[in-house]
């Protein structure tokens, strides 16, 4: 549906967005690649020349690298597991007929709108503080010794905080998916003699599989990059240094830009692997 005239107009109108995003992608990316092959210490001599793949090797062989990968995987995996399982259950519950459905929905979604620094601080101080936190009071009420959450169970604490933030996202998307399920399908299954658990396993879960995949992929991309939650709670201490945080420390705290950039390239590659799968799904949807 187009003429030469409208096609050239389209090109002109697309240009600003394309040029800006191209610049936003290429300029920093090129610089990161450039720095990653240099010994570059801005506060200690600046540009000290080319070092080839030295930074890449050093980043991987540093004692902090593997623990950070492990931390990243534990956090991403833990949050995904919690948000998906609870999200499926919660979305099924919210889909049931009840009074005040709209309000419950709002209550459940609310954490998603809380800025990460706020939720991290609130959890850190008002819930997980070993002296005055609500959890401490709760533990004492049952006669137990309060837990030093952010030092003794630091990873678990972060997983709890981040899961609380992302559970609404998973629930909301899964709920949308459930609501698109034709209720006649469920009724047909019931007529066919399928008990509730079988209906869940054979009808609801397969229907949700696409939405679950999307939730996993999108959350993974965001979770790989979580920053503020660690920044304001543990500052990367007590085994909570993720890959993202390690790179941040290399670049801004120890000002080893070459090393940090090599780490950045690793992070980009990692994110791209996840992104490719996500884009496949989104792309397929685009054709439909």
């Amino acid at each position: 549906m187009a003429t030469q005239h409208s096609r050239s107009a389209a090109r002109i109108m697309m240009a600003p967005a394309v040029v800006l995003l191209l610049g936003w992608m290429l300029v920093p990316l090129t610089m990161t690649l450039y720095f990653s092959f240099k010994k570059y210490l801005p506060l200690r001599g600046g540009d000290l020349g080319w070092v080839g793949f030295d930074n890449y090797v050093r980043f991987v062989s540093s004692s902090a690298f593997w623990p950070s990968v492990q931390t990243t995987l534990v956090i991403v995996g833990g949050v995904l597991l919690i948000t998906i399982i609870l999200g499926v259950l919660l979305s099924i519950l919210l889909d049931q007929p009840m009074w005040g459905q709209g309000i419950v929905r709002i209550l459940v979604i609310a954490p998603f709108f809380v800025m990460p620094t706020v939720s991290a601080l609130v959890w850190k101080n008002m819930f997980m503080d070993p002296v005055n936190g609500l959890f401490a009071h709760l533990w004492e009420a049952f006669g137990a010794q309060p837990v030093e959450w952010l030092s003794d169970a630091s990873l678990l604490s972060i997983i709890i905080i981040v899961s609380w933030q992302w559970l609404p996202f998973a629930t909301l998307i899964l709920l949308t998916a459930i609501q698109s399920l034709d209720s006649e399908q469920l009724e047909a299954a019931e007529m066919d003699g399928a008990p509730p658990l079988a209906r869940f396993g054979f009808i609801i879960l397969p229907h949700l599989s696409r939405a679950i995949t999307i939730v996993i992929l999108i959350q993974t991309i965001f979770l790989l990059a979580i920053f503020a939650e660690i920044f304001v709670t543990t500052g990367g201490a007590f085994g909570t240094r993720t890959l993202t945080y390690l790179i941040f420390q290399r670049v801004l705290e120890s000002q080893n830009v070459g090393l940090g950039s090599a780490g950045g390239v690793y992070a980009i590659i990692l994110a791209n692997i996840v992104a490719i799968f996500l884009m496949r799904i989104v792309g397929k949807n685009l054709d439909a």
Binding site: M1, A2, T3, H5
Partner: protein, 334 residues
């Protein structure tokens, strides 16, 4: 004025040529219908004339000036779309006034023209409503109103009745015909429905795969279809075709006989067969007769009161003057 000449125009989408070189002359004041099965290129052809698509080659001439490179707005044509394409966020009045507003007319002149058009189209009471609050027929009239106020050189209609129910379609068909009678403006009308084509057109253009199969008045197409395709497409119910021995008797590869040109009898006739389904419409009865050697049932149009039943053996006789003969290329033999 509204004379449109298409000169060797073609249209390709990528490597696919949907319209091979095509010539067509549309005279001022004519009601021209483009008809053909879906995907035959009739809508594309209309959009080329409108300027919503570029021609790949060739020229479009409107009232003696070359309009090939002129953008749609400047061609002086108005279009009524299949979906009506009303602006949902504007009242009926604003919808109809939109082209006038774009042309820079002052408010008073806009109102005068809108009111006049609304009166013609019986929309006066609905001017302040939104399109969403109107029925299908009313929306259709708003779309026509929006076209009328521009006083275009020609109206283009793209399957305008296909979204209406059957009864309304007949009404709107009449209204559009009456409009043409009173405005005497050129109208180009695209449809896949040959009944609309037969009832409304001064001139029918039958298209298939982007190629013009025949151009002519409705009765020309009915009486002397140029080929098998036109013969089968024009007329309802469809023409019956006979091949093999049936046709060679008439020195043709295929012969065609319209259902209304077959007489049917219990006792004697040229071809015999068994009655399958019979449809009683009151005024007419359509018999579907299984004839040995003919793959599809032969349709016969008979008077309303005939006593044939399922399974009866009947005899059919074609009206010898109304037999259409085609050669093995499917072309008409004179």
């Amino acid at each position: 004025m509204g004379q449109i000449t298409l000169n060797q125009i073609t249209k390709s989408f990528g490597d696919v040529q949907v319209i091979p070189p095509l010539d067509l002359q549309i005279n001022d004041g004519e009601f021209v219908v483009f008809v053909g099965p879906s995907g035959c290129g009739k809508s594309t052809l209309l959009r080329l004339i409108a300027g919503l698509e570029d021609v790949s080659s060739g020229a479009i001439d409107i009232d003696g000036t070359d309009a090939t490179e002129i953008p749609p707005a400047k061609r002086g044509l108005a279009m009524v779309f299949q979906s009506y394409a009303l602006y949902p966020h504007m009242s009926v009045r604003k919808n109809i006034a939109f082209p006038l507003r774009m042309a820079g007319l002052d408010k008073a002149a806009q109102d005068a023209k809108v009111d006049a058009a609304a009166k013609v189209l019986n929309l006066t009471d609905y001017l302040d409503r939104r399109p969403g609050q109107l029925s299908g027929g009313q929306r259709q009239r708003v779309a026509i109103g929006r076209a009328i106020v521009r006083e275009p050189a020609a109206f283009l209609f793209d399957e305008p009745l296909s979204n209406l129910d059957a009864a309304l379609r007949v009404n709107m068909r009449l209204e559009i015909s009456e409009l043409h009678q009173s405005l005497k403006t050129t109208m180009i009308y695209v449809t896949h429905d040959q009944v609309e084509a037969m009832t409304m057109a001064d001139k029918i253009v039958v298209l298939q795969a982007g190629v013009i199969e025949q151009v002519g008045s409705p009765l020309e197409l009915y009486h002397t279809p140029r080929n098998r395709f036109v013969a089968g497409f024009i007329g309802s119910p469809k023409m019956n075709f006979f091949m093999g021995a049936f046709a060679s008797e008439y020195n043709a590869a295929t012969i065609g006989v319209r259902p209304e040109h077959l007489s049917v009898s219990h006792t004697d006739g040229k071809w015999s067969g068994k009655v399958g389904v019979s449809e009683h419409l009151g005024s007419d009865t359509f018999l579907y007769v299984e004839v040995d050697g003919v793959s599809e049932p032969v349709t016969v149009r008979s008077t309303g009161e005939v006593g044939f039943r399922h399974g009866d053996t009947v005899h059919l006789t074609p009206d010898p003057d109304k037999i259409h003969r085609f050669d093995n290329q499917g072309l008409r033999i004179q």
